[in-house]
């Protein structure tokens, strides 16, 4: 090598080396150049960027010194449907929420909670270190509740009305003016260059029947339908608009894909399958609770309150509890030792488990005879009971008798003669046997116990009639199978069932069972019916430590005491047959026609006479097949059925076709899997920006209403008059353009007949607040100036003063300052009974259920709790169609303890728990060679998905456990282009899988369907048959 070449080489090498050095040390160089602060300089040398504390507490006096620039306000959370009252710390200048914790006045966040009269300043004291008050008076927000403030500043929020560009679901939108939005939605026209679309104006036809041949369907206005999801406390206004003013009967919530099956089963027991009352265990005072398909502290509602109470009761209190669940969740805390237990159960078999317990109770004489044998409320009261049930009421069991399955009535025995309309009504007594004489008597005629078991006849004017008591029917049902058979069905060993039953019946009224999401299987209704019936046999309703219905709410939407919000002149009473077909098929023209044709059954698709509205049927047969009638316009508010209903995703394509529904308008702050298919999206405000009056959906002994009020300036665009664009101005503008009654100037009447406008959100919500303030024996006190100063209510004071009367605004301020109205804790119980009781009889035999028929088979459903394996609509067991040999696994879904479906965008939660690997049982995994972290393929008759496996002991063999809330396709998982702005796309939001993408259709039905419980019509997300295979290593 020549010298020069060598030199050249060396110099080049040296140059290269130097370049590498420069590259490698660039960062160091940059940092060096920055000098003393290579990073970002935080505010404080020790506490970094932590903002100044919201207030300071004097260590000796406890006096509060507020921090300028910040307010602490008590408002509401929408991090999940629990809807807790929370305290929000706001940086007023930046209009940002700094942090969220609990509101010490509300039982949703605090136990024990503060007396309602406590001055706001003292409530701050109660949260502080001062005298360690803050430890006992601790008021909390959960992990989601702490993170959901990210939704306010989320880059995925929409802030201006959007109109789709290109086909539905294309992800391209143009921002449009509010006026244009209202005009187009009302007036219709060739909105998308795809031909004429009817607007809401044309569709509001209150007279013309949808089908003259089927007048029961109602007028054409019913072809406009509304799905609402999270009931965030503004429903009363929405219903005023949609049902009372616009006039459609078709408004539905998310119940049928929430815990509808449980609620339906509970409704059967509580004797109201439409409102579906339910009770919750009094966790604080119970000694033993069995949670069957609900997971307190992992999910459950009220999530946070239950979590707090369970933690306290299992540690400091008397509580022992057992969670019966195919999957181990946080509900079974190992550290609680004996106090918490977990029993795995095969999905969808809780009916067998519960009936096993019931059988054991009967066999071992461990039912609460004294409670069960009381024929009426008075006798029960006299016997020292806190409620009663129809266990002793006689049921007609005569085969072929027109009243078969019905409860025997006084009129059946000719004891009374009543008008046809009153017959079998409240005035028509039930019949029981007097144990003294053995003779039938009216149930309300006895003052003591009636005969509990009877299988025989009673004499009627027309001969002997075979009857049994309700409890006899239940006992027969329970005895149908022996414990072993029940055990074989549910996978819980017989001795465990017996042991549990013994324990459950060893605590008097201080024991309870509870259920919820775990009932969402193909046998959910009867599973839930059976589970809730256990409580009836325990006689624990209305008892401290038993089950309680709770204090309920201070209704804001009544006709008074200050404003008539429930009614208005010109209001429409919607009529017709709802889209969910939740009415008896036998009353339809279709039935009549088919009957005439000689074949009344099957109906085209199932009908659900004992159910409330069913979104499950709406999105499948209803909207897609147009059965019983087509939908012309669909409104969505805070709902996401495409993501939330198992199997519904397959109809996304259909929904995207304007021929299926010509107009879809969504009101939502985010673009979710359903609203992505809309024609228009109206930006709604998010939690801390909104008004709303909410309450607990159970489990709180006292009466309460949470006030959610805007503690931030909304980030949506504003209208010329300064109102932020959100749900309320949209509805009001629609109403005005459509000329609907009940909105606009003079729409709200006060109790003196004066009229007040309904032009803004405040016009409604503040008057609702005034109603709340005046409820009860006496109105709430006036807020003091100090209350106002400390609570941040100052912010909305101008609105209060503008809308409310001089004597009102301080009272409403009193409520807002405390984040709601709350009955004092001490008033929850009177002695050992609940102050707010369920007074009507519980149903051992529910005649509405027992006389309803499957519209596919014409067969009657049992009227008591029973065990029925998961079936399809025509009663075919699912395992016969999709055999275990072919589909050896069953998918179940449990809520993520951290995320709810719409908090997936919160990065702080995602970073903590970025994915939802599917839980596979150790033995199954070993057999299939699957290890934690492996990629697996899960196939069901409804589809296939790739997922990541986590091998667990805490998943029952044969079960695949999917945590709910992941596997999104929207919310930021996919880019949307709005005008020329591209929303970011975050792959992490799409991480994991959504069980619902694997949901089934019902092969026994024709037309569009998702698999639902045949009685309750509720979505099936538990026990979906599946196959599993390993795809790749971790």
């Amino acid at each position: 090598m020549s010298f020069t070449r060598r030199l050249l080489l060396k110099t080049t090498a040296a140059g290269g080396a130097l370049a590498a050095f420069a590259g490698g040390f660039s960062e160091t160089g940059r940092k060096l150049a920055k000098g003393a602060w290579a990073g970002e300089k935080p505010e404080n040398a020790i506490s970094g960027n932590a903002p100044k504390p919201e207030f300071r507490v004097d260590p000796t006096s406890g006096d509060i010194a507020l921090t300028p620039g910040q307010i602490v306000a008590y408002t509401g959370c929408i991090g999940c449907t629990t809807l807790c009252g929370v305290r929000v710390r706001v940086d007023t200048e930046r209009n940002r929420v700094l942090r969220v914790a609990g509101n010490p006045y509300t039982p949703m966040s605090t136990d024990p909670f503060l007396p309602y009269g406590t001055p706001v300043q003292d409530s701050f004291k109660a949260l502080s270190r001062f005298q360690e008050k803050g430890l006992n008076g601790r008021s909390t927000a959960c992990g989601r509740g702490n993170a959901v403030l990210e939704n306010v500043t989320s880059p995925f929020r929409i802030t201006t009305p959007l109109k789709r560009v290109g086909p539905r679901g294309s992800g391209r939108w143009e921002p449009i003016a509010f006026d244009q939005l209202v005009r187009e939605v009302c007036d219709g026209g060739d909105l998308f260059g795809e031909g004429a679309v009817d607007g809401l104006k044309a569709l509001r036809d209150l007279k013309t029947p949808i089908d003259p041949a089927a007048p029961e369907l109602g007028p054409r206005v019913n072809q406009v339908a509304l799905i609402t999801g999270v009931p965030d406390g503004r429903e009363s206004l929405v219903q005023r608009f949609f049902q009372q003013a616009y006039g459609s009967i078709n408004s539905v919530g998310h119940g049928s894909y929430c815990g509808g099956a449980y609620r339906a089963g509970s409704g059967a027991v509580f004797g109201d399958t439409k409102q579906q009352p339910h009770a919750k265990p009094d966790i604080a005072n119970a000694e033993f609770v069995v949670f069957i398909g609900t997971a307190p502290s992992n999910a459950g509602n009220p999530f946070k309150r239950q979590a707090t109470l369970v933690a306290k009761a299992r540690t400091d209190g008397a509580l022992r509890y057992v969670v019966v669940d195919p999957v181990l969740t946080n509900a079974r805390a190992a550290a609680a030792g004996e106090r918490a237990d977990w029993i795995p159960i095969r999905p969808g078999t809780d009916g067998a488990f519960a009936m096993g317990i019931i059988r054991w109770m009967f066999e071992n004489g461990r039912i609460d005879d004294r409670y069960l044998s009381q024929p009426n409320g008075k006798a029960a009261e006299a016997a020292g009971e806190a409620g009663w049930c129809n266990a002793t009421h006689l049921v007609v069991v005569q085969k072929g008798h027109p009243r078969e399955g019905r409860l025997l009535r006084a009129s059946d025995l000719g004891w009374v003669t009543l008008d046809e309309k009153d017959r079998y009504g409240d005035k028509d007594a039930f019949v029981v046997l007097d144990p003294a004489t053995g003779a039938p008597v009216a149930h309300d005629a006895l003052t003591t116990a009636a005969t509990l078991f009877h299988d025989g006849t009673v004499a009627t004017g027309t001969g002997d009639l075979a009857v049994k008591t309700s409890l006899t029917l239940l006992r027969e049902e329970a005895m149908r199978l022996d414990l072993r058979a029940y055990s074989d069905a549910c996978g819980v060993p017989a001795d465990v069932i017996g042991g549990l039953a013994r324990e459950l019946t060893s605590h008097g009224k201080k024991a309870a069972v509870n259920a919820h999401g775990g009932m969402m299987s193909g046998s959910g209704f009867y599973n839930a019916f059976a589970v809730v019936t256990i409580n009836t046999l325990l006689g624990n309703l209305n008892w401290k430590g038993g089950t309680i219905v709770g204090g309920g709410r201070f209704p804001e939407n009544g006709d008074g005491p200050r404003y008539k919000l429930a009614s208005f002149p010109g209001q429409v009473k919607p009529s017709g047959l709802p889209l969910g077909r939740n009415v008896p098929y036998e009353r339809t023209s279709e039935f009549k026609a088919r009957k005439e044709a000689g074949k009344p059954y099957p109906a085209k698709a199932p009908w659900y006479p004992t159910a409330p509205g069913l979104t499950t049927e709406w999105v499948s047969s209803g909207i897609v097949d147009g059965y019983p009638y087509p939908v012309k316009a669909l409104l969505l508010w805070n709902a996401n059925p495409v993501y939330g209903i198992p199997g519904a995703h397959r109809f996304a394509q259909k929904l995207a076709d304007p021929k299926t529904v010509p107009l879809i308008v969504a009101v939502d702050p985010f673009i979710n899997e359903t609203s992505a298919l809309a024609d228009y999206i109206v930006p709604d405000t998010v939690l801390y920006e909104t008004w709303g009056w909410t309450s607990a959906w159970g489990g709180v002994p006292t009466k309460m209403t949470t006030a959610r009020w805007p503690v931030l300036v909304p980030r949506t665009d504003t209208l010329p008059d300064g109102q932020p664009i959100q749900l309320e101005p949209f509805l009001i503008a629609l109403a005005k353009r459509l000329g609907l009654p009940g909105f606009g100037p003079g729409a709200i009447e006060d109790m003196d007949g004066n009229r007040h406008p309904l032009e803004t959100a405040e016009d409604w919500h503040l008057r609702a607040g005034a109603n709340i303030a005046w409820l009860g024996k006496q109105p709430v006190p006036d807020a003091s100036d100090e209350d106002i100063a400390f609570s941040g209510v100052e912010r909305v004071l101008p609105a209060l003063k503008a809308v409310l009367k001089p004597e009102e605004w301080r009272k409403v301020a009193f409520i807002l300052a405390r984040g709601g109205r709350y009955q004092n804790q001490a008033e929850g119980f009177e002695g050992d009974r609940a102050a707010h009781r369920f007074a009507k009889p519980l149903q051992i035999h529910n005649e509405a259920v027992g006389t309803s028929k499957s519209s596919l088979t014409g067969r009657r459903w049992p009227g008591t709790a029973t065990w029925m394996p998961p079936v399809f609509a025509d009663g075919t067991p699912v395992s016969r169609v999709h055999t275990p040999a072919d589909w050896p696994f069953q998918l179940v879904s449990s809520k993520s303890v951290l995320v709810s479906a719409y908090t997936i965008g919160a990065t702080r939660l995602r970073h903590l728990h970025p994915e939802n690997p599917v839980g596979v049982n150790v033995e199954d995994a070993r057999r299939l060679g699957i290890r934690t972290g492996d990629r697996i393929r899960i196939a069901t008759p409804g589809g296939a998905e790739l997922a990541t496996a986590i091998v667990r002991h805490g998943v029952m063999a044969g079960v695949l456990a999917v945590e709910h809330g992941f596997g999104h396709r929207e919310y930021g998982a996919r880019t949307h282009v709005i005008g020329d702005h591209r929303q970011p796309e975050v792959p992490g939001i799409a991480a994991g899988i959504n069980l619902n993408d694997l949901g089934l259709v019902d092969p026994t039905r024709t037309g569009a369907s998702v698999w639902v419980d045949p009685v309750a019509g509720t979505a099936v997300r538990q026990g979906i048959p599946a196959r599993l295979e390993r795809v790749a290593a971790a």
Partner: protein, 249 residues
């Protein structure tokens, strides 16, 4: 000289240097403390039996202290534990122990890490050089380098709140009521009572750090390094990236 300090000066020849410099008894170490009010000795008791694993504490801490993304001053480690055919979920809140004898302090070459007279161990971010020696020395993985400030970061017991008469953020919002905060110097405080009356445990006692975060219901299996299958998902900067787009089979 206690055991941990003796162990500190290992290595041939180091003994001389070590003995001269490390013989500081804890009492002397206490003298070296600065700031804070010596009238107090802040501590936490975590009642594991009450923890529901809701991570409210974790997120509250992040929000309160502006903890950078993918970093954590506290976390509730959640485990599925199976023993004798019975499975349960074990939830273990972890944070800085504000040790009485904290190994993170002697290693600090600049004095940025120090202990206040009320026992709270803090980092002065204007002094810290970001050498991460303290990160290595903490036996509890309680420390990390804050990538925004480029200095050591950890739980401060929310010193700014405590000084203002408030409770730490994680304590305020603890849904299960598992986190109890207070003053060990006050015999009437809840933590003092618990320390007197309950059989409290600490994490890694053999490290001799004398933690001032105590646990009720701490299972020995979780006292040190946990022997088990690790989590699949590691929250870190690349977690978001590596979870590539959704596949559909």
């Amino acid at each position: 000289m206690d055991q941990s300090r003796r162990n500190f000066c290992l290595g041939a020849g180091a003994a001389t240097v070590g003995a001269a410099t490390l013989s500081t008894a804890p009492a002397e170490a206490a003298v070296a403390r600065k700031g804070g009010d010596p009238a107090h000795r802040w501590a936490m008791v975590v009642d594991v039996r009450k923890c529901v694993g809701c991570q409210a504490c974790t997120v509250a801490c992040i929000m309160e202290n502006d903890v950078p993304e993918n970093s954590f001053r506290t976390i509730v480690s959640t485990y599925e534990v199976t023993e004798h055919d019975s499975s349960g979920t074990y939830m273990l809140p972890r944070l800085c122990n504000h040790c009485e004898d904290p190994p993170c302090i002697p290693v600090c070459p600049t004095g940025a890490t120090f202990q206040r007279r009320d026992g709270i161990v803090v980092v002065d971010n204007t002094v810290c050089v970001g050498c991460a020696y303290c990160v290595q020395a903490c036996p509890y993985d309680a420390r990390f380098i804050n990538h925004e400030t480029q200095t050591a970061d950890k739980c401060t017991f929310c010193v700014h709140r405590v000084d203002a008469g408030l409770l730490p953020a994680c304590v305020e919002t603890c849904v299960g009521g598992a986190r109890i905060f207070g003053d060990l110097n006050d015999p009437g405080s809840t933590v003092s009572k618990l320390v007197r009356e309950q059989d409290l445990k600490v994490l890694k006692p053999e490290q001799g750090t004398q933690p001032r975060v105590f646990y009720v219901g701490l299972d020995p299996k979780f006292q040190g390094r946990v022997d088990g299958t690790p989590t699949l998902w590691r929250p870190s900067a690349h977690a978001e990236r590596s979870l590539a787009g959704k596949e559909h089979a």
